[in-house]
Symmetry: C2
Amino acid sequence: MSDKNIQEIKKFNRFYTRVMGLFNLYTDKSPYSATEALILFEINSRENCTAAFLSNYFSIDKSYMSRIIKHFEKEGLITKEISKEDRRVQHLHLTELGISTLNSLANRASGNVETMIEGIPEEQIDILIDSMESIQKILSRINEQ
Amino acid sequence: MSDKNIQEIKKFNRFYTRVMGLFNLYTDKSPYSATEALILFEINSRENCTAAFLSNYFSIDKSYMSRIIKHFEKEGLITKEISKEDRRVQHLHLTELGISTLNSLANRASGNVETMIEGIPEEQIDILIDSMESIQKILSRINEQ
DNA sequence: AAATATAGTTGACAAAATCAACTATTAATC
DNA sequence: GATTAATAGTTGATTTTGTCAACTATATTT
């Protein structure tokens, strides 16, 4: 692999790290961190999501994950339900409050994205979206759990 | 702006957040955090870099930045030099040790990027790089300090 | 000269994350 | 089928990361 390519990818990583820092998606003025928002999102998206899955998926220590989940439960955002097949595992589900909290975080994130791209001409946005889709497609192995 | 586009960008943000988490660029098995690595990188890249610049550039609280810099100084990675034009400001410079530390962090990051893209065919990599360049170009307003 | 603004520091604190030890349960091996 | 190993999740202790407000020193504005 050419070193030039590696350098270019690293440059993009630095760039995009900062983009996400500046538009701290989900996070600003919210009592929930970006990590917590992403976790809520996954709990909502997956049938029978578990702490072990989330811990592995986000490479977050299971003890920390346990505390985040405990916190969500205490706040009334989620419920835990012990699996019938395996009594060690707990399926996670958003409550009504959890769903509406996630929605408000998601709306905030949408607002931030709008700010991020405001003023960019339509055809540039199309290129942006295409590029983002390409990157995901090419790196999608990562999506495998 | 179409909601579909917003959703697609948010999806990419979630995706790439995780990519960066998994390949925690710079960071793994290193005594320096990703933030610290990025700061060292900037100090090295900019003439007369200052704490105020870094604080603003990365949206990091100036008190925290002050401590990170103090830590670098204590470790012998940087030196501070009071500006002649304005005695409030301190120009930051990497020492030899700072440079070699940054190099070793950068090598580690390169290794991680290689792992990230290994097995991806050449022409896909080209698309990946092009896409990354497009995104940077389109969002580059952000780079303005 | 006085008021404001900026660069950086410090103390106190809070939030985020890690590590190791632990319980409970299930799966694998003898 | 008993023993061992593995997995899901929890808890306590601790460290790292980040925030907030007050402060000093210098520079800029009025």
